[in-house]
Symmetry: C2
Subunit: 464 residues, 2 copies
């Protein structure tokens, strides 16, 4: 896209936003729908994030449940949650009731507990409420939370002709449900086989499905976790896997792409957490106070860790007073080793995700990282040491800085490589905690190494 | 899994690895296959990463092309590339020839150019070579690179009966290709319609498909990028979208889950890049030299940036000499503002990905971040300032530290929020470059603020 086109697009979107805002202020439902229709889904997300909460609430009210639910289903999850929390409970309940069940349960899971319970209580249909409660109980990303309901099932006694007749009769309904496989269940609801459309088409109409179905189909328990689901789909070509409870009863179907999308979401979460956005996603339309508190929840502990690390400098002030030039190199040494350690963290987390590395592979990590640490520590140490020596014309200063960076690089790649394994074993999310642990340790060690090497060679550093 | 079970699993895997290594040393194909079969795909990745390159090469040779290709198709991409680069060219070529085309092209794209060309030249089948070359020319993640070939097409003149007969005849073949839709093309190969199985089943056998097909199907150009594909799939329920060239000829089909998987890969890349693993993935079985150079490619520029930042300390040594306690707070102020800025970077990158934020939304970011920066800066500044004042019993020191951290937090959240937008506009990957740019600037500013505030109040800081 050229700059002019971009500018034009920008103008069009601004116009659409104005249009939407006017329609909302005038309580004009058809104008609001019109304005939304000129925007594709991504543009809708943009426009929604630029509306004030007052207008957003008004918009959902004038749209009515069905259109509001449609709009909300296209928004980013964080946007949808924000709106649901602000809406009057009855409106929120009826919107949730109109959303696909998987999405509704995902949103309920992310809402504050109290809000979720109050909104749930407002859903009048007991069957729906029951299903949402069951779904909410599943942990995020497991088969139970990803499965779609409404699998098309037939009794084991049915004939091919009966199945085809039913398919013809409910064609439109099934098309909406994206039917890929047909499931055969016994009287107790237990899954006993799977039917393929093409086998049906090519069979005698009088044949019982019992003879045609694929027996002992691959099923997954509702508790199966995302990683295992991803593995299964990688090893098979199925478009969906049937989910069964402990008694083998069919609960739903996990579609292949739901697993891939959830994996992408997990990777995005990992990126956010490693960058200090914890306790769920932040978008800038959230209330200011909430955003500040969320960010401080991460910064607060970090200031504590930083103080612990810097206490090493405080304890060695005397040395620093003698060789003030060290103050220049303290942050460089700690930051550079932090960078090296972070690389090792990323490789470990990635290898764990790929299954190349197991939490027990400590020795492998130590061996592989020690070698990199020694070489890179040597290279970086020589570079920084030479600069230090040349700058002050003092070889001892260069040696102190070089030795400290070298050693600290080795320490931090070892630590960086191992911390994710240890955290994984302790069932703590490595993306969340590796960074702060690593940084604190490498800062402390870096400060300590520079200052104690300097203290040991103080005679040669005089006047620097 | 309990600890005992984990230990047992570990032992089983070690046994399987021993078994595999013995089979390789004895050049025993069936034993090697046996050993591999006791492992699921994730375990195979683990075992492969624990074999020496010599044994790995031997393994692919004794397995033969078909089994080696099967093994390689389950490995992590970085593992597969490593093996292909080390194998004799003819073996690598015949393995690539046996892999699914999308995977083969992905691997070729990741190989060193020279290796890729040499391996390609070894593929004797000109049709295959031509297709791989065409696919390699597509950029990563676009429709052309994600599409599967072998769409099932029928001429527009065919009847329902003819199509069903063909489907029956080639049932096994089509099952392998995961046929979801049937495509109707005119004489020039131009896509004119799509057939749904269920419509076929419920139609008169003599009806021409022309009357049954859905006309003007949604198609995507081969150059369409991942983000747009993801949007399209989100807005539609299709399991796959037909890819056409400029003349509307059907080239292949992009399956929905390929788009979701590629999105997950992009998110994983983002995490790696933000952690300093650039120029492609690193796994620890890669040669030591390569790993060191790859990591240094990131650390090298970083040491330069660090020196630039630290030069601010060097320029203000005189102040530091007077108030040595500042040396304790310099790294804390720069690190804490770096953390705050990184949060803003992550939120901007995430909002850009979700479409909530556009590269032109500078003012929105400034307004939203300034508020957070002021509040969090105030809170953090008060905390750190109080600690400084109490520690040395000097209120001026506290004020210097508090003011510096406060101001620098505001600066760094603004910068952190804006840098990804600017980089995106300059077509530089925000995940790659935001971190170093941000850290350098906030370090410089942090050092400068602490030291110049101290210089201005030097009279009150004496003896601290």
């Amino acid at each position: 896209m050229t700059t002019t086109e971009k500018k034009h697009e920008r103008e069009l979107m601004d116009e659409a936003l104005d249009h939407l805002e006017n329609a909302i202020e005038n309580r004009n439902t058809s104008e609001a729908l019109n304005a939304l229709e000129t925007l594709d889904w991504e543009d809708q997300r943009w426009a929604i994030s630029h509306l004030s909460m007052r207008r957003l609430k008004l918009l959902t009210l004038i749209l009515g449940t069905a259109d509001a639910a449609k709009l909300i289903s296209h928004l980013a999850e964080a946007q949808a949650i924000e709106i649901l929390e602000e809406l009057p409970r009855p409106e929120a309940a009826s919107i949730l009731d109109s959303l696909p069940r998987t999405l509704a349960a995902d949103l309920l899971r992310e809402l504050h507990d109290e809000d979720a319970q109050e909104i749930l209580a407002g859903i009048t249909d007991e069957v729906v409420r029951g299903e949402l409660e069951r779904r909410m109980a599943y942990s995020e990303g497991c088969a139970g939370s990803l499965m779609l309901g409404g699998a098309v099932t037939f009794p084991v006694a049915a004939s091919v002709g009966e199945v085809l007749a039913d398919l013809g009769e409910h064609a439109e309904d099934y098309a909406d449900r994206n039917v890929q496989y047909l499931y055969v269940v016994d009287e107790a609801g237990k899954l006993v086989g799977v039917l393929r459309l093409r086998d049906l088409v090519l069979s005698l109409r009088s044949k019982p499905v019992r003879e045609l179905m694929l027996r002992d189909p691959l099923t997954v328990p509702d508790s199966m976790e995302l990683e295992d689901l991803a593995d299964l789909f990688e090893q098979n070509k199925f478009y969906g896997l049937p989910v069964v409870d402990a008694d083998g009863r069919l609960l739903g179907v996990v579609p292949r792409d739901a697993v891939a999308r959830e994996t992408a979401d997990e990777q995005a979460d990992m990126f956010l957490q490693a960058s200090g956005i914890v306790n769920g996603e932040e978008i800038r339309s959230m209330p200011l106070g909430e955003r500040c508190v969320k960010r401080l929840a991460w910064l607060g502990p970090n200031i504590g860790l930083n103080l612990v690390a810097a206490s090493v400098i405080a304890a060695n002030e005397a040395t620093l007073r003698e060789v003030i030039a060290l103050a220049v190199f303290l942050p460089i040494v700690s930051d550079m080793s932090g960078c090296s350690g972070n690389q090792a963290v990323a490789v470990s987390i990635r290898e764990l995700t790929l299954g190349i590395l197991r939490p027990g592979d400590y020795w492998r990590v130590v061996l592989k990282e020690a070698a990199v640490g020694m070489i890179n520590g040597f290279v970086l140490g020589c570079v920084l040491g030479s600069i230090a020596a040349l700058w002050k014309g003092n070889i001892a200063l260069g040696l102190v800085v070089a030795a400290a960076l070298m050693l600290n690089t080795i320490l931090s790649v070892l630590l960086g490589g191992l911390v994710p394994l240890l955290l994984k074993r302790l069932k703590v999310d490595p993306a969340l905690a590796s960074g702060p642990i690593l940084t604190t340790c490498t800062d402390m060690c870096g400060f300590f190494l520079v200052l104690s090497f300097a203290a040991a060679t103080l005679g040669h550093l005089a006047g620097v």
